[in-house]
Symmetry: D2
């Protein structure tokens, strides 16, 4: 047994999400970063790599070079998979090339720039026989696992109502006009796609909802907002949702909600019980019942399902955070790759896949279409 | 100066809201209950009155009798105003008769059974020259006053986004089939009107939103639910709202949200700041800012506007609750009556009026109409 | 049946606690204020009384006059009991005189200026055959009742550890040097007694601890602080406590804890479970268990003991506050008086009595004595 | 530049704290685990090492072998430092041997079995010229850094009062009688030292207090409890503390507080402001002020000092947890080693050192001595 070797595309010095991926990949000690095409030039890429203690000859000028050169390396040296942490428009090309050259891929969300690309990517994945994971990181939280397990075991009864929101305030002013790189590409349709906040955070809300409830959003009515001066993409949205079992709800997103940091939260109401989870206080799952007092579950605390216990790394009361949840995606992905390497089979690997990616794109497209028709009900393709 | 004398219509032994009105009217020592038509028979009414230490001859068989007999009493004995605490269908008839016979009226919400009645009532009020108050009690909370003042002073900047919800779970099962009187009339269109949860709690959410923001809901798109077996009225609703200044938001209500007790909450996001208030934890106003840390205001605490200080009865840290907020409506109503008695004028009495009542009915009607057209945008008449 | 008639001693215009007593006495509609000796002169007293809608001839110049004149009034007119809301040094004299003249008494805490007075008062009460209540108001909270019931039923097992605190910040600076009347008498040993914060809030902490646990503080070790410039009485204290069953704990009080409003809180740990209650968020009782998730109880919510349900006035989720808890003391006192009037017997009236008052004084005296001996263990006499 | 190479002593499969150290060391990508003496036999050690992807020949039978063999390896292969994660009695021997053989050391707390060992270790460190760090991990939290900075900048004014607690419930029953290894050594004086909870968690409370306030505990009065059946060491403690500036406070610890998970919390009150931090909800720092509303700070949020910003890894609202704080100790230790390797100097490396370790032992000794004298005041040697 050996650690898995990771190559990274994007994530140069100063990057937010690239650094997150590296830390998440490191926590469980199963993965080592061996190479990267971190930036748009060889020089920048090498500088980024140096800070990461990488050998200069494994810091590539671009992803094409990385994929081709790594492929030529001996099997016990070359990377096992690539992590794609670039803006949305740069997901599909490197993912396709990596897969077609025999590398597994883990990719940030939303999966691609367009729905067409997402559908095309699925074909590439299927043809390649390689493994693909999408980092809908919030599903890695122990209390999200507990929530999903409680719904799956029928503890809440039939689901009737859902409230989900993802609220941020960092784009409340048009900081993209300053030198804020994170903002700049997110408000640019060429790099972000047809959704702004929809793609950046709406897909997380959609994914979390479907993950916990095991249901699908069947149709939606979206009233999007473009509040930031000079923007063309949505930076806010209020959405009615109808699930495939008859449940109804609201999905609210914003990047102009002043003072909100990263307020992803969900409430699910069934016939017998309900649950509430807040990403900013992730180590609590609040549950409510017809005839019993409120019960609060905690990671590694009393009364959990095995699905939640499995992903808790440390004893109860030692808070796990964003990086640990993110790391769980990497860990499950890595365990799957190791199993494949060992000739073993895992029935249902527990990490988001291209199917989640496609759902996310369908969500974005349906919301934009609905909004264009003044919030008419629109089905997810 | 003397205490004001109150006569009550409805609110017999076992009543929820009648008892609330009596306690709220008592707290500030300005009002005394002198008579009532508490129940549907003279006997029941007298029994209720006894428990309230009333003289038997001031416990009437019905509201008509009460109004007519009280009118005959000497001026220094007869009631000053009636409090109407009956189900919705029994608001308009006694209000009309009381006003036309020279009595002021304070009435529970929603104001009437139908929009038509509400409009008719306004004419009666105007013709009578008497005073009418509507108990949208939540606007009496000190932190709601602070919220309204902060918006009015421009602290938050232009309002962009609103999230308001009122969630209860007590109708999650069809308890109206048992001997639950509170539930029974609320699910009966003859007594409740065309809205179920819409009228009972939706109007509170609507009123709170417009009160705090100083804005009006211009149009809405409502997706109502009827989850309880055998019901015909909505017991759940998800509503998109658009305000008259361009702000957008969601309004979510439910009486089938298992385990929720009385979860009225609002979040308002402006260009410069935002605020958040929860009725179940009413002594905190959470505010967020572009460049400053989160600030939390408390009744009689640091940094409040006079509007909030005025309605806080006790020192900071001594929690005020539901009854105190309710009492503030009564107090302001009583102060207005006392001023009138003294020949004084109050420019803008700070309690909800028939205008709020009409808005509430317009909200119900627009929501039902929108829902009937599959959540099409519908203007508030 | 008729309302009980209350006369008040102290509590003139601008008073904090007098107003609280009046509101608390009013809420449940069982008591009417009929007379008062509100201030130090007849003129001031009359002015205070006018604002309370009292007849001028029932506004007395001093308590002696009130007691003597009310005694002369016809039985169906004169007051039933007096409420004493003066500073500590003015508790004993009017209480003694009222009792000896046949009036029941309800009195603010601490019960008297000195332990000697408290013991003397007990003799007066016993000799008078009249009823005496002490307003340790926090014991009136529904969740405190639930806490007491849970301990009494053995749900927590044998109690092992207690943490109790009462933290305020309003005396962080020496505001008694300004014209702050509330502060002035509290830092004056002639009016306050030998304890400063000890008497004002420490007795609440002591009383709450003994009320909930059913245990007694056997001995304590107190390290008091005098931080405010120019003060002679404690404005802060850290105390180790040992209970009569072997449990140990800490009791921490302060009036110089900057920014704390009225932070009375208690945690009780038993062999099987534990509980936590915060006065500033009084409508939650947090409980923790060996093998079960955290459970949170709420007034009129699921899973409560009858003792808690009995004192909840309004449906779950409608927050009760400081005044309602205070009112429960008045309500239970009033019910006891009414029962006596009806010739009925109540085995254990549920309100604090002279015994609680004596315990409080013993607590103050033990703490001061311990502190004088450098925090040596000192038994409560 | 290269990653630092870590060898681990203790922390075999199933270990709690060894796994924590490995994860913490991994997060920031500066350290790689290269060898270990994980268990008491070579076989077990090799099995543990395999799961960690280590070469078999770097998995040693015991720490002596590891130190001697690693010393013989080429400089570019051998470990840079050892991490000691064994029970307390096995801290001093390997630390001494490692230092004397030229290896830097990072060690779990409390630093040694006895105060004598701690003082001896300081001499060894000084003589060795090597670097020694102690993992008082909670000081790595961003909001703890902010708290320390606020006190240091005088924002709170002179400190007057402190409340600190560390409450756990996992030893509420005598689980050491079952096969619970974590419990077994902690209740055994031969392995744990003269303090039970005092050493395990009390030292964290002591260290956090002194770290944030910049003050020292001058003397204390400790009332320890031994509640678990069959135990000889304290599993609970209530302690009065007096700081070297005149501030007073309480320090409460417990491992029998049923249902508490890992409730380390501190409140610090100064003349101008106060702060409150809870380890279980670590991403909030609550502050209170004489004249301003409550302000809540968050990692990477508004209004922070550079000291807090420096240690926040991810954007505001993405919760950091226990492992990230722990990792900050490793990161700062690693940066110090790298600086030394580069011939650079760091004035005040920001991680706990042997001085903190000695303070911790002095705290344990003073508390035990005080308790033996019935909670008499005892100075920290």
């Amino acid at each position: 047994m050996r650690k898995l070797r990771m190559g990274m595309i994007g994530g140069g010095t100063g990057s937010f999400i690239g650094d997150v991926h590296r830390k998440a990949a490191s926590i469980d000690g199963m993965i080592e970063l061996v190479c990267g095409a971190f930036s748009s030039t060889a020089e920048k890429s090498i500088n980024s790599g140096k800070n990461l203690f990488l050998a200069e000859d494994r810091c590539y000028a671009n992803y094409e070079e990385m994929i081709l050169k790594e492929k030529e390396l001996p099997e016990d040296v070359r990377m096992d998979f690539v992590a794609i942490v670039t803006p949305n428009h740069m997901h599909f090309p490197p993912a396709k090339m990596a897969l077609e050259n025999g590398f597994n891929v883990i990719c940030d969300k939303p999966v691609t720039l367009s729905l067409e690309e997402a559908l095309a990517l699925k074909k590439v994945i299927d043809a390649s026989g390689k493994t693909f994971a999408l980092t809908h990181n919030y599903t890695g939280n122990p209390m999200v696992k507990q929530a999903k397990a409680m719904v799956a075991h029928g503890d809440l009864g039939k689901i009737r109502k859902i409230q989900v929101q993802y609220l941020q305030g960092w784009l409340a002013t048009s900081i993209e006009k300053t030198d804020q790189k994170q903002a700049a590409w997110r408000v640019d349709p060429k790099k972000s796609g047809i959704g702004g906040a929809l793609g950046d955070i709406g897909t997380h809300a959609e994914n979390l909802t479907e993950y916990i409830t095991g249901l699908h959003i069947e149709e939606l009515a979206a009233d999007l907002g473009v509040f930031g001066e000079g923007r063309v993409l949505d930076d806010d949205g209020n959405v009615l949702i109808r699930m495939n079992n008859g449940a109804k709800g609201t999905l609210s997103i914003s990047q102009i909600a002043v003072g909100e940091e990263n307020n992803l939260a969900i409430k699910v109401y069934g016939e017998k019980g309900s649950l509430e989870w807040h990403q900013e206080n992730p180590n609590q799952l609040i549950t409510r019942w017809l005839d019993e007092p409120v019960k609060i579950y905690t990671p590694n605390g009393n009364g959990l399902y095995p699905e939640a216990l499995e992903v808790s790394r440390i004893p109860a009361g030692h808070p796990e955070g964003y990086l640990e949840a993110f790391a769980t995606i990497y860990k499950n992905f890595a365990n799957h790759l190791l199993a494949i390497n060992n000739g073993e089979t895992i029935d249902t690997p527990d990490y988001p896949t291209i199917e989640d990616g496609i759902r996310g794109m369908q969500f974005i497209y349906a919301a934009v279409e609905s909004n264009n028709k003044n919030a008419s009900w629109t089905k997810l393709a």
